[in-house]
Subunit: 292 residues, 2 copies
């Protein structure tokens, strides 16, 4: 069963009003913003990836969903499979570093043992409070599309991780992403729609446009790239950026640094331009459901 | 690393006040009672177990933790590994039945794919509200130890599942446990300590006594057994009962049916009696951390 089929069948079950029809990255309950992500060894990370980096990324990807809602971080639950002591110890070190870096606390969790040789499956559930919670569906005709930071760093970092050598800053952007928590808090009350860039700038922009019932045009020449990253199209489809993507009026006074990369308009679908000229869409707009 | 070592190291990390120092089955946040449980194929259930029963048990074991706090069920998150369509469909059927049976709603979750041949790892996180939330540490010198329902049914049901034939009622008690939600709501404001019997009556009674700084004596002859269950010692160490175990004054007027099975007193440790005479403790008091 594909994820889309599974989700369609889940939607026939009793859904909580805070589930947002399972169409959002977070749920709402008792004033809390709640999100959960599972990472699988061999799918989302590799067996030889440093355990401390896996811990960091597991926390960071969850907190990035809270950042996109403008939530204040409350805490996390951890579901952890015990397997070998050295990996567990390194994981705990990375977890401690991530909690300290993001002002986050542990609420509880569960530990299990795995059958011999089974890949690790790790889950974090994160809780935030006081979220202004802009939806991904709120973009308006004429809004500008903005993104924080730079795009494609993590994609370049993944290539460096695979090669075993390269720029340490880009590698860190892949291994130790930093969710835009402060930026999300500042932006959330002002923007019309917001989400984090997890699967790729193009696919996530297309999703925001579709959820909002609009078309979006993205200008490749405007995509902000880190030093050492030159291929804007590769950058815009690589994913794992954990930057904030948001829709706001073109003349809005933004409280944080962000780059305008596109425009929403009436219609549907994604258009790509390079220096103002239409260019063909690539075969893959980013990571698709179920592929990682 | 053992679970105990891992927990000890987790306690050195920043803990949320609602984490109860990781010494309780639930966390508290924003008026919610929160619990999470992970089931692993080959550890907590067998590959040939019916998928619908796995879904039911995953929900039921989480809600049993809420029942022990007297919480009203709000909803669940599901972290689900997609693997084969028939199993997924049967899981969804069992999930729908469990949600309907327990008046529970889906809040959200995450789906992942697994590497070929990897055992399924499933997580549910459950949320309850309005809990009176008796701790497991609140038993008082002179309190009676009570348990709801009957004990050992699930242990007998497991033997029936392994044998492939036997009493259908006992098998259902193993495959489709029913958390004592209504009983927990009624009892929670009145009792001094409460927990669910998940690992075995004896080990869970010993844990309640230890958490409360008391000794407890359990009378084997008083343990309530279902029809067809005769070995009280096996029943009291089998686990998976999901009945409520609680401490209350011996003359307390109880709003639900329960059986007195023991007494708390000053001191420490677990004593076992049979018709009033001390008998030796068995080698295993129930499932131990990390063994399932």
């Amino acid at each position: 069963m594909t994820e889309a089929d599974f989700l369609a069948r889940l939607r026939t079950l009793p859904l909580h009003p805070g589930a947002h029809d399972l169409a959002d990255d977070t749920a709402a309950l008792a004033g809390l913003t709640i999100t959960t992500d599972t990472l699988v060894e061999g799918v989302h990370f590799l067996p030889h990836d440093p355990a401390g980096d896996v811990a960091w990324k597991l926390v960071a990807t969850n907190l990035s969903d809270l950042a996109a809602k403008g939530a204040r971080v409350e805490g996390i639950l951890l579901n952890y499979p015990l397997r070998d002591a050295a990996w567990d110890a390194a994981f705990l070190d990375g977890l401690a570093q991530a909690l300290a870096a993001f002002g986050c606390a542990l609420l509880g969790g569960d530990t299990v043992t795995l059958p011999a040789g089974a890949p690790r499956v790790l889950t974090v559930t994160a809780f935030g409070a006081e979220a202004a919670a802009p939806p991904r569906s709120g973009a308006r005709d004429g809004d500008a599309l903005y993104v924080t930071g730079t795009i494609g760093d993590a994609g370049a970092g993944l290539a460096i991780a695979r090669a075993g050598h390269g720029d340490a800053v880009l590698l860190a952007r892949y291994r130790r992403p930093r969710p835009r928590l402060a930026e999300g808090r500042a932006l959330a009350p002002l923007v019309h729609a917001m989400m984090d860039v997890s699967d790729g700038l193009l696919i996530d922009a297309a999703r925001m446009a579709a959820a909002s019932g609009l078309a979006v045009a993205v200008e490749l020449g405007a995509v902000p790239l880190a030093r050492g990253v030159t291929d804007a199209l590769a950058a815009a489809t690589a994913g794992d950026d954990y930057e904030l993507l948001f829709a706001a009026a073109p003349d809005a006074a933004l409280p944080v640094a962000a780059t305008r990369v596109g425009t929403f308009s009436a219609g549907a679908g994604l258009t790509l331009t390079q220096d103002g000229d239409n260019v063909p869409l690539p075969a893959s707009l980013g990571y698709q459901h179920g592929l990682r």
